[in-house]
């Protein structure tokens, strides 16, 4: 990652984190404010419910008292008091009629022994004892209370009041009440987004059918809002017998969430049994929508901030990093060999000083390079002079001896001069020829011709070289060298000068033969690897040291006693001219392998040079 990008990333992250922190802070503050408001609303609703409960209770009390004082009940009480053996059969339907008249859901007339005379909610129960008579009779005159009334096939929660007739010695108890049902809940005046549910506490486990929901016709429980989702809260409130609250997620959509306050409803009496759970639900829609708006605003502001930050950061980073980038580019140019690379120096800061130092460094490097080239040239000329001196000194010494021998023979033994002259002339001619050879080699190296490329079958060139040297490899008087050809038939033609390629391979073969004075195996191998034609010349000779491998392609360098040091230099020159490269693999005592890579179909590789491994 570039310095500019890093800088940009740091700037951007800084802005994003700042925006996120602000959004979180605002969101947390709103959540706290909403929770406080919600708590206040819930408390208000509970208070309202209590007032409504009290009002309904007073209403129930009034109605029960009115029934107790009604003519029909008084008549019944008088009748039951008057008769020696009370016959209540004529009144068994009275409770139903009175309940209808006074709009009560529950109404029972019970005699002093606790026997039901008439029941509106369960008419068939006449003559049966009222199971809670003892407790109910003690509540005569009390305010309304909650009670669970047993019905034919279920039970119902209601608000009850008990009164008794005062006629005679045998009172009749009037137990009336209203059902806490959907209608009751619907009568509550609720703020928007709030609702009340009532769970009747019957049985040990939650049952959905015991939940009364006044809003079931309009988005209440059921369907998308299964009552079972309230089970955990209801059971927890039932077990703990105290108020609890929880958030209910009806659907994955958070706007449907509601927070419920579960309030236990207890009955009358000492034990105050838990008869129901009042559930006050408050929609979290407004909160979630507000939260989403804040999040959306934060997102927009954050996005804009980030975009602005990117733009500003880009501008700032550009200002800061441009000199650094120029320095980096200049350094790269220098690395590529452009020693004339310079950096513009502007200002007087640290980067300007760095640029100035860089420019001084490149100037110094350029000067050192020129001095080095000069030194290398001198060294090369010295090496050339040494070589020439060495090469020319060898034939000149015999020439000198031969001429001195002829002069000595002329002066001391004229009769044998002719014979000495003839022998010496032959020697002189031979050494002169030797000098010519040396000179012609140097001349050839200096006059390497430009390759005349054409499509050349590599296998054909290799085979011709092998045929050329076949006789020499098997020449009598020297250890035999086994020549092995391993040619890839699928290798295609290469663009090359056949003569130069032949010469290069021949040089490598000659080199291999020199490396195997005790005989061995010469292997010529061709193959095609990744579109390149590969020619390998391997011997099993003495091998090369790593140092020799490094210098073996240097002109005039030789490890042989009589070599000119130009053979492998010529090979490397030919390969380079063909856009290829030559590699040497060698280990002392285990032979040497030269690998020539040539681009097939004229695909020249610019990776010229020599790679050696030892």
């Amino acid at each position: 990652m570039s310095f500019r990008r890093k800088l940009l990333l740091v700037f951007t992250l800084t802005v994003a984190v700042s925006v996120a922190a602000v959004a979180w802070l605002v969101s947390a503050m709103i959540r706290r404010a909403f929770e406080k408001s919600e708590s206040e609303r819930t408390a208000a609703l509970v208070a309202q419910f209590q007032r409504e409960f009290d009002r309904q209770g007073d209403d129930v009390v009034r109605r029960v008292e009115a029934i107790t004082a009604s003519e029909s009940v008084v008549h019944m009480a008088a009748s039951l008091n008057a008769a020696a053996v009370a016959d209540s059969s004529g009144y068994f339907d009275l409770a139903r009629a009175a309940a209808e008249n006074y709009q009560l859901d529950f109404l029972e007339f019970v005699d002093e022994h606790g026997i039901i005379v008439s029941s509106a909610e369960w008419p068939a129960k006449f003559g049966y004892p009222e199971s809670a008579f003892d407790r109910l009779s003690s509540l005569v005159g009390h305010a309304a209370f909650l009670r669970q009334e047993e019905l034919q096939d279920s039970a119902a929660l209601g608000m009850f009041a008990v009164r008794a007739t005062r006629l005679g010695d045998h009172p009749v108890y009037v137990i009336g009440g209203r059902r806490l049902d959907k209608q009751f809940l619907s009568a509550l005046e609720l703020p928007p987004d709030m609702r009340v549910l009532l769970y009747q506490n019957r049985g040990t486990h939650f049952a959905a059918d015991l939940l009364v929901d006044a809003s079931s016709s309009a988005g209440g429980t059921g369907g998308k809002r299964p009552a079972e989702k309230l089970a955990a809260l209801i059971e927890a409130a039932t077990q703990s017998n105290r108020e609890m609250s929880a958030i209910v997620h009806w659907t994955p959509d958070q706007t449907e969430d509601e927070i419920f306050e579960a309030i236990p409803l207890r009955g009358a009496g000492r034990d105050q049994p838990l008869l129901g759970i009042l559930l006050v639900g408050n929609s979290r829609r407004s909160y979630v929508e507000l939260k989403r708006k804040i999040q959306a605003s934060a997102l927009i502001v954050g996005s804009c901030g980030i975009i602005l930050a990117v733009l500003l950061s880009s501008w700032a980073a550009a200002r800061v990093t441009r000199p650094v980038e120029q320095l980096a580019a200049a350094a790269h140019d220098v690395a590529e060999g452009n020693w004339n690379a310079r950096v513009e120096v502007s200002g007087n800061d640290e980067l300007a000083k760095l640029a100035e130092s860089f420019n001084r460094m490149t100037v110094e490097l350029l000067n050192q390079k020129e001095r080095l080239i000069q030194a290398e040239r001198v060294a090369a000329w010295r090496e050339l002079a040494r070589r020439l001196a060495h090469e020319l000194k060898n034939p000149l010494f015999p020439l000198q001896l031969t001429v001195e021998n002829m002069l000595r023979a002329k002066e001391s033994n004229p009769t044998q001069f002719e014979e000495v002259f003839r022998e010496s002339s032959a020697t002189l001619l031979a050494e002169i020829a030797n000098l010519k050879t040396i000179i012609s080699r140097f001349s050839e190296f200096s006059k390497m011709p430009q390759p005349q490329v054409q499509a050349v079958q590599v296998n054909g060139v290799v085979q011709r070289v092998a045929q050329l040297f076949e006789a020499q490899l098997r020449a009598p008087g020297r250890p035999a060298i086994q020549c092995t050809l391993d040619l890839d038939r699928d290798i295609g033609p290469v663009q090359a000068d056949p003569e130069l390629l032949h010469r290069a391979i021949s040089n490598l073969v000659l080199n291999a033969m020199d490396a195997m004075p005790e005989g061995g195996t010469l292997t010529l191998r061709t193959k095609c690897v990744e579109g390149k034609a590969i020619i390998e010349v391997s011997d099993t000779g003495v091998g090369l040291t790593p140092e020799e491998c490094e210098r073996i392609f240097t002109p005039y360098y030789t490890s042989k006693q009589h070599g000119t040091g130009l053979g492998l230099a010529i090979v490397q020159s030919v390969v380079s001219d063909h856009g290829g490269r030559i590699i040497v693999h060698s280990q002392p005592g285990r032979g040497t392998t030269f690998v020539i890579e040539l681009p097939s179909d004229g695909n020249e590789s610019r990776n010229e040079g020599v790679i050696s491994t030892a």
């Binding site: 059969s89 369960w122 008419p123 068939a124 129960k125 006449f126 003559g127 034919q152």
Partner: protein, 452 residues
């Protein structure tokens, strides 16, 4: 002064006597307004797909007649047939038709028309006509055939292109199926014109609405629930008990335990308290199928609850299933009775759950007892239970008892009550008393002048 006062007193006395005689003497005219719960969509007495047996029977009796009718003692008496006789095996019966009887369209009845009408409602009978005689042949001895012919479905009906006509004292003037029926008295009725000019019948009226109409003098005859009959005893007239309320099991007995459980249920029900409280004494606790007035031996069947024995039987049952007790959801009395039965059963350790399900284990049913005698009524009960119609050859109470006992021993039915049919009649409807079987007897009824 004395001479002037005496003639004035005589004239005044004569005027008072004349006016009093005029108000108590039968006279023709007037329209009788009747309301009823039944809302039949067809007036055909052979249509067996309609409920409310009593209402339909009474309607039918105004327009249609049978060959034989029943007297107040439940014995066959001549109607359209003036006499009848059977061969020695009681398989072949001959009925001699009454003369000068005409249908409401004026055509005289013939033996062919009577035979065709009987063949239609009784496809298994062989009915022939011969001069003024109708011959009925049965596959097996039918000693009760005259009684069978008294039921409304065997009324003489002339069917002509979907239009039905009878021989009864009234003819249809207007008919809104299920809503209103207007009948006009026939001047050419064979037994003489009735006093009433017309009868207007409002149908599908609930008991509460009928009571209101009666109180507001919009109707002169309305139906009254037996348990309400005591509240307006002055204007209410009741029949003998002609309806059986019973629990009928949907299945035959399964293992022996099932029988014990059913017996326990029968013993757990406090019929007397139910009759006193729920029916307000309007019915009779029933231990048998036939009411005592019909069979003469009804008292031998116990009706008292025996909770101890019920619990003892219950203890002999290892597992007690929950029985669904079905009842007519439109009948408040049935619901109350079902709930009370469930409570009584619970006292005995049984589990009975009132339900309006279409396939309960046991049903609370009302079975009309035809009033055509114990044999026909037992046959009707057997039909409700899905049993074979009992063949009662003799005429003795002993044979009737044996058949009834056998039916009770199947444990398919638990009798609860026998109920009468009660009507409220306005004070200006004179000379009208329901028959013992609850049927209307309007032949001699007349309306006094003035508003009812």
């Amino acid at each position: 002064m004395r001479l002037i006062g005496f003639p004035f007193l005589v004239v005044s006395s004569l005027l008072w006597a004349f006016s009093a005689s005029a108000s108590t003497r039968p006279h023709y005219g007037g329209t009788l307004h009747v309301e009823m719960r039944a809302a039949p969509t067809s007036l055909d007495p052979a249509d067996s797909n309609q409920s409310n047996w009593f209402g339909l029977r009474n309607l039918s009796s105004l327009m249609f007649e049978t060959l034989v009718s029943l007297d107040d003692q439940g014995k066959p008496e001549p109607a359209l047939a003036i006499s009848w006789q059977a061969d020695s095996g009681n398989q072949r019966w001959r009925f001699l038709l009454r003369h000068r009887v005409t249908f409401q369209d004026g055509t005289p009845i013939t033996s062919d028309a009577v035979a065709a009408s009987l063949r239609r409602t009784n496809p298994t009978w062989k009915v022939f006509s011969e001069d003024d005689t109708v011959i009925i042949e049965r596959d097996s001895p039918a000693p009760n055939l005259p009684a069978e012919l008294t039921v409304p479905r065997n009324s003489l009906v002339k069917r002509d292109n979907g239009k039905i006509t009878g021989t009864g004292p009234f003819a249809v003037s207007r008919w809104d199926p299920g809503k209103r029926l207007l009948l006009a008295a026939r001047d050419d009725y064979w037994d003489g014109r009735v006093f009433l000019d017309a009868i207007e019948i409002e149908m599908g009226r609930g008991l509460r609405d009928q009571a209101i109409s009666f109180e507001m003098a919009k109707a002169q005859v309305t139906e009254v629930a037996p348990e309400q009959a005591h509240r307006a005893a002055e204007s209410v007239q009741s029949s003998a008990p002609v309806e059986l309320i019973a629990l009928v099991f949907s299945h035959d007995l399964q293992p022996p335990e099932d029988g014990r459980q059913r017996q326990a249920l029968a013993l757990s029900i406090d019929r007397r308290l139910l009759n006193t409280v729920v029916l307000q004494g309007g019915g009779e606790p029933a231990g048998g199928l036939l009411p005592d007035w019909m069979s003469g031996y009804g008292f031998v069947f116990p009706v008292d609850a025996d909770l101890v024995r019920a619990r003892h039987l219950r203890e002999q049952v290892r597992t007690v299933p929950v029985w669904g007790l079905g009842y007519d959801a439109n009948d408040p009395l049935a619901r109350l009775l079902a709930e009370r039965v469930a409570l009584n059963a619970r006292d005995a350790g049984l589990a009975v759950q009132p339900t309006v399900s279409a396939t309960p284990d046991v049903r609370l049913v009302r079975i009309p007892l035809a009033g055509a005698g114990g044999r026909i009524s037992l046959a009707e009960v057997a039909g409700v239970l899905g049993l074979m119609r009992p063949q009662i050859g003799g005429d003795s109470a002993g044979e009737l008892y044996s058949v009834e006992r056998a039916m009770l021993d199947t444990n398919r039915i638990i009798p609860l009550f026998h109920l009468p049919v009660a009507y409220a009649a306005a004070a200006n409807l004179k000379n009208w008393t329901p028959r013992s079987d609850g049927g209307w007897n309007l032949a001699d009824a007349w309306l006094a002048s003035g508003k009812p």
